[in-house]
Symmetry: C2
């Protein structure tokens, strides 16, 4: 049967390329995610990758899609904007240079991303409809800025370009995130309906 699928399985496919890219990202950082490195880990010539992805930028966009969870996962159970922002930040911090990958390749479609959708849904009771996309974008930008700065510092420490304790730096960033997020959401929902307790 000539039209049978799997009659001759290919050495690599798109998913394998994306998965390997994500693994290199986690283990060595964005600087080591090169088409040539990727190809050699997959046991294939660099030019072979271009049958499956059109270029590196498109590949990194697919990696970004893997980093950012779908909207339902971001929303979780409590459906609050604060928890969406926290979950997004955790997802970015889970992968080395995750914030930079998302910021630099995902920025184009940030407005239509699962992160934006989840945030807008969570903002629904507190923020007027026509202001929701703007507020969601602002929150997203704060999360990305906070995570990017932290990961930039962690990378600098790991490369010996900066002295500092990773744990201390992470704790400081956590505090900056909490303070900033609380203020941002309080400022935006200050005409809130029920008296909410801080977490």
């Amino acid at each position: 049967m000539p039209s049978e699928r799997n009659s001759r399985v290919s050495r690599v496919d798109r998913d394998a390329i994306v998965a390997t890219a994500l693994r290199i990202l986690d283990d060595f950082g964005l600087a080591d995610v090169s088409m040539r490195r990727l190809a050699s880990e997959l046991g294939v010539q660099p030019s072979a990758l271009y049958w499956h992805v059109s270029n590196k930028q498109e590949l990194l966009a697919a990696v970004a899609d893997q980093i950012v969870p779908p909207a339902p996962v971001l929303l979780g159970e409590d459906l609050s904007a604060a928890s969406v922002a926290r979950r997004l930040r955790s997802a970015l911090l889970t992968h080395r240079d995750g914030a930079e990958v998302v910021l630099s390749t995902y920025a184009l479609s940030l407005g239509t991303s699962p992160a934006a959708a989840a945030l807008q849904a969570a903002l629904r009771p507190a923020v007027a409809a026509e202001l929701r996309p703007t507020v969601a974008a602002a929150v997203l930008q704060f999360v990305l800025g906070n995570a990017s700065v932290l990961q930039q510092r962690l990378t600098a420490v790991r490369f010996g370009a900066l002295s500092g304790d990773e744990q201390v730096m992470t704790a400081a960033s956590d505090a900056e995130f909490r303070v900033g997020l609380d203020a941002l959401l309080a400022g935006v929902t200050r005409r809130a309906d029920p008296p909410t307790a801080r977490s």
Copy 2:
């Protein structure tokens, strides 16, 4: 006189290298700021640059220093935190990929940057002393995130990777910045000195 200065002026010096790097950044973007490109524009071999700067990262840090204005300029006349943030954002947007340059090379010393100093000074009446560095960092991260996302979009549009109007995108980012900054500062200074009505 053997010890006379200027007896034989060198072809390039550190300032000329930094100035040329900033010019290439403005005209062509960060991707075009390479040591080889820099050298050829200065009429010198690439290896010559390494007499004046230790590596590319250090060079980009010097470029970042040129992008971020000194604290007195950021503070201006009104001395408000909002205007410091606005002036910093303007400075970042003045140079192509300015936010990325500052975010990626300046992040190490962000806490001791003129931007942080100016912000902390502006926050002085409204925010308690021990919380000021944290709040200043959060504001900085929002400014960097907002400017980075906008410039990433502008770059994508210029390279034809995304359809969109630069003016429209800039206007949207401006609105997101205003809303986010207002909320952030309102949320942070809500326990202001005069008796405020609370809910």
